[in-house]
Amino acid sequence: MTQLSVAAPVRLSIRGNVVRAVYPAVLVGAVILIAWELAVHLFNIQPYLLPAPSAIVAEFGKSFSTIASAAQITTIAVIGGALLGAATGVIAAFIVALFEKFANTVLVLVAILSCAPVVALAPIFNAWFGATSLMSKIAVAAIMVFFPVMVATTKGLLSVHPLHRELMESLSASRFQLMVWVRIPGAVPSLFDGMRVGATLSVIGIIVAEYFGGTANALGVLIANSAALSQFPLTWAAVAAASLLGLVVYGAVMLIERLVAPWRFTPASR
């Protein structure tokens, strides 16, 4: 009874927080779109330079089936890349966290490695896996996602609150118990910080990898081809679809975080 009556207002206030967080962003977005639309008409900007948002939306409606079918394979690749990158990143983080002494060295190496422009590997992966293979795209995105997830998760696993460490030590808890009850739950928020960065990177990775050729029916290919044929409204509509995909993946990560780590979203009492 008590539980129910207390839980309800908490739920509500979380929903209120989401609205409050999203509302300003939506407002700013709307203002920018209106300014864009007005600017195109006022300054008579040619569509091949910059089409008006209304023209992009119209094109989106007209070519919806083309864009939607191109987005299908891209979406699968994005999800595949994000999952593969996140999974390998988390596994690598666990391995590094087990060897605490070497962790910092490894993190520095990883930081240096992550400076490399991974998308530049796309043509190489095309040669390895075949240009039309989904794997050649997924590999690029997975590597891009791997780095932020691995670094954030490792740091999360290694940073234990001193009091939690002392408490577990005073109870003579095993290393395994410390891992399962303190390190892992403590690292969940860091993991999702990495995943949110990774979500954006996975879309970039897939789209750019698709520029380098592959199945004809993909968003990246559609963007590259339509631009080559000067079908700029279609290019823009496809870019908008890719942005939408990025937003959806980002939103999905946030949603999963709320389910996996609800404690992060309970409002503090003070």
Binding site: T2, L163, E166, L167, A173, P185, W263, T266, S269
Partner: protein, 270 residues
């Protein structure tokens, strides 16, 4: 039944010999503890009192084997402090609650039992019991962040008492509480101590709290941390709220206060 005054011929529950602890705090050595000799009888309730920074928390951590002394020996029931910790003889409550955000209140209290592999049903029953003891029934499914500082402190006490440790080490556990709850928990602590025969080492800043609870008050002096005075409190148990108003209580308080003041007032300048 209860040992009110230390029995000198029995083997001490806790024995410190020439315990010194220096911290190398970047830029100079801090002598947190200097040549501490202390015997604590089984079943004693000893309070540590002294100005901020005199080493009370450090002494508690040394006894609990969370900090290794620079010099000297700590024995617990005739064994090393480490052996006692490994045998899970300690229950600890730290100066800050140190609850785990990812656990509900109930699961925070269950943690020590979980570490010891107590079956789920038993754990639950015990947690309910402890919640009732600290008057937080109804909050079992809340998250730590939803509780006030004083409430969190009470959860930390419940967690320390959840399993029946042979030794209870408590660092200002009632510091953040309101007067009513503090006096209530003082009485409860005495009740638990008398019914279980646990040895308690208790850090506090309150003279009247130390006198009300303890069989002995140990007054410490700062820089370097030393034992300045040991004052046995001969007030009979059970101690009740009436005890606080007796002349004997007032006398005991005065003695402790005098000892504390001689530590606080800079007798010689230099």
């Amino acid at each position: 039944m209860t040992i009110n005054t230390p029995v000198t011929d029995a083997r001490p529950a806790i024995s410190l010999r020439n315990v010194t602890k220096t911290f190398d705090a970047g830029g100079g050595l801090v002598h947190a503890l200097d040549d501490i000799d202390l015997d604590i009888a089984p079943g004693a309730f000893v309070s540590l009192l002294g100005p901020s920074g005199c080493g009370k928390s450090t002494l508690l951590r040394v006894i609990g084997d969370l900090v290794k002394p620079t010099e000297g020996v700590v024995e617990v029931n005739g064994r090393s402090a480490e052996a006692a910790r490994k045998a899970r003889e300690y229950g600890m409550a730290f100066q800050a609650p140190g609850l785990m955000d990812w656990r509900t209140i109930r699961r925070n209290i269950e943690l020590p039992l979980q570490v010891q592999g107590v079956p789920r049903n038993e754990r639950r029953a015990r947690a309910e019991e402890m919640l009732e003891l600290v008057r937080l029934t109804g909050f079992e499914n809340h998250r730590p962040r939803q509780l006030s500082g004083g409430m969190q402190q009470r959860v930390a006490i419940a967690r320390a008492l959840a399993f029946q440790p042979k030794l209870l080490l408590m660092d200002e556990p009632l510091g953040a509480l309101d007067e009513m709850n503090r006096e209530y928990l003082q009485r409860e602590l005495l009740r638990i101590w008398r019914s279980t025969g646990t040895t308690i080492v208790f850090v506090t800043h309150s003279v009247s709290e130390a006198v009300f609870l303890s069989t002995e008050v140990v007054v410490m002096s700062p820089r370097p941390g030393r034992i300045a005075d040991r004052i046995p409190i001969d007030l009979p148990y059970p101690r009740t709220d009436e005890t606080r108003m007796t002349e004997e209580f007032y006398h005991a308080e005065s003695r402790v206060r005098t000892a504390l003041h001689s530590v606080l007032e800079p007798v010689q300048v230099g």
